[in-house]
Symmetry: C2
Subunit: 184 residues, 2 copies
Amino acid sequence: MKIYLAGPDVFLPDAVEVGRRKAAICAAHGLTGLYPLDNAIDLTVPDASRQIFCGNEAMMEAADAIIANLTPFRGAGADPGTVYELGYMAGRGKFCLAYSNDGAVYADRLSRSMDVRSEDGRLVDPQGLTVEDFGLPDNLMMIHALELHGCPLVTPATMPVDIWHDLAAFEACVRMAAARLIAT
Amino acid sequence: MKIYLAGPDVFLPDAVEVGRRKAAICAAHGLTGLYPLDNAIDLTVPDASRQIFCGNEAMMEAADAIIANLTPFRGAGADPGTVYELGYMAGRGKFCLAYSNDGAVYADRLSRSMDVRSEDGRLVDPQGLTVEDFGLPDNLMMIHALELHGCPLVTPATMPVDIWHDLAAFEACVRMAAARLIAT
C-alpha cells in the first residue's frame, strides 16, 4: 500500500533526509511512502515548477492514501500547497490522514501573533475578518475532511521541541494507515 | 451551469452582501453561483462546523466548476480552507478557476513581511525554510492545478485599493467559465 507523504517538509534544509526517515517509518509498518523529492526534477529548466506539479500529481494518483503534515507554516494555518494535496486526495476518494505538531486551537494560536478581539459577537482579526472560533486546530474544511474521509487529525499531547523533525505524530498516522489499509 | 464560489469572502463583515454581488455577476453571465453562506446553518449547535463542512461539500458536488478567491489571507499565501476546496474540486474532475487581487510574486510578497535571504543557492525565510522561487504568485500546486485543470490564475494588472471588495478579477473568471461551460 502506497502513502503520499505531503508537507512543507520539502522546504526544510534537510528535506531529503526527513523524507528518508518518513519512508523508513512507513516501511517498518509494511507501507510504501512516496515523497515528492523522490521525483528527479532538473530545477534549472524553465518549466521546473510545472514538472514538480505533474510529478506530485502522478504520485498522488499512484497512492492509496495521504499523510499530510498540517503543522502551521509561516503563519497560524497549514501550508496551502499541502492543503491543496489533501483536498485533491479527498476528491479522488483516497484515504486521508494528517497530523499537526501544534495542537493549539486556531484562534488561540492566531492571537499569539496578532490582535484578535470580539466584535458584534464575532471574533475578528485586525483587518476585521472573522476568525474561525469552533475550538478546532485549523480551518474546518481540513479538520472535518479528515474525520469524514479518513482519520481525525493527529496532534501531540504537548508540542515537541522541534516541530519540524519530531515524527511521533506522523508515526501515529502511519500506524492508523497500516491498520486500515493492510486489513482491507 | 453551477459555480461554487470559494474564498475567504465568508469571513468579511459584509460576507452575505459580497456573496449576493458574486451571484449576481454569475447570473448576468448565465451561470448560477453557489455561495457557502447560502446554506442555513444554526451556529449555536455543537456540530455547527461539521454541518458547514457537509453543506460546502454538497454544494461542491452539485457544482460544475469552482471560482476560488486566492487573494493572500493572513499572510503571504492563500486561505487554506479555500485551497482545500480547490484541491477537492480538481480531484473531482470539476473545472477549476481562481483569481487573486495581489498578483505579486510570492517571494517578493513574503519579503515585505519577513527577512528573506539567499543561502547556499536557496531563498530562505528566518526559520531556514526554503521560499519557493519560481516567479509564481503562490505555491506551485495551486498555480499549475489551475493551468492544467481549468484556467490560469487571474490577477489584476494593478492591485485594487480594496482587495476584498473589487470583483473585476472575479468577473473575468466568470466570463471564462461562461465561455467554457455554456459552449460545451
